[in-house]
Symmetry: C2
Subunit: 226 residues, 2 copies
Amino acid sequence: MGANSADSLSPAVAADHPGVSELFAVLAYGEISAFYRLADDARMAPTLAGRVALARMAGAEIRHFETLETALTERGLDVYEAMAPYEKALDDYHRSTHPSTWLESLVKAHVGDGIAADFYLEIAGALDPSVGTVVREVLAETGHSEFVVHEVSEAVRSSTKEKDRLMLWGRRLLGEAITQAQFVMAQREELTDLVLTASGDLNGVAALFDRMQQRHAERMAVLGLV
Amino acid sequence: MGANSADSLSPAVAADHPGVSELFAVLAYGEISAFYRLADDARMAPTLAGRVALARMAGAEIRHFETLETALTERGLDVYEAMAPYEKALDDYHRSTHPSTWLESLVKAHVGDGIAADFYLEIAGALDPSVGTVVREVLAETGHSEFVVHEVSEAVRSSTKEKDRLMLWGRRLLGEAITQAQFVMAQREELTDLVLTASGDLNGVAALFDRMQQRHAERMAVLGLV
């Protein structure tokens, strides 16, 4: 955690910080874009069970979107107007990490979501509890990592070629995610300020990205990608 | 309602009728296929609000699927095996009613779901309450008809051409739905028997289709398609 983390006496970022609405908005658009990405990727599912697994994950994204919509509405904002500034960066992330196989789409669903969750949960630790709770709720595991871990680790156990390919894929996901996270942060001054305040300073942000890299490696290892 | 409807002293179809699991299975596959149909159709949405509206409806289908999965598991069945016999008929329905415009996809989401709900709710009236409750729960309005009614009735108010086109589309949806309903019923003897028992006899089934046609006309009228 950064300099002003959850264990401080008072949260670094107050509930009325103008970046909070921006944070909710980027998270909300993230849920919608993840929904459609999962629904699209399901075309590659080799079995009905695979298609259902992705549909379930997508369904969870919608529940999370609705939580964020409520939070934004309570702040007097229109969810569509609030999300608009973030459409491009998130759409670009998905366009630049378009999976070409079923296994790539599973790794992306799991690892990509994990990277995003690491970033936002670090920030959540420095937010006023009323705000941090919303962030944690919408980043809760969609509860289907078991399916992904099983499918991917089975596949890479029997194929070194598949394993090498997916390891490169994971590295690319991390790189693109960090690039896009920087674009997202730079999108709005209020959001940049929130992230800086939550991390302490620029060194805190760099340390945050280091921790994200570490957790990414651990997550890849669970999939057998080590 | 048919001869053995909800107002009888005891339900016409007992909870352990072998057709009950079949009914749950066809409903479950219906939710999954509706999920992917909505996600696909969202490509035609002219606005982010439209894309979100369809994502929400799709999210509701997944919640309903999960209810049916639980009901099937409690009956000792595997949801994927149970759904398999119904994949073809439902996929054929969607293939034969592929919308080519955003308005067609909205009318299909609303009117198509309505036709299916009419059919199943008629049957539900004759089922043991423990079973009827599950059926009613998964056919509950996904709560977004307001969006569809608004979009469609606005569009047809200003264009007679669009109105004529969508009226034909609605008629085609009804025709295809009834054709596929007959295929679905014929798929499994247990299901045919359940529908016949619930409706009383073949005359009861014919009367059920008449009532469905009537309700379809009312639904079209609400959309301004009259």
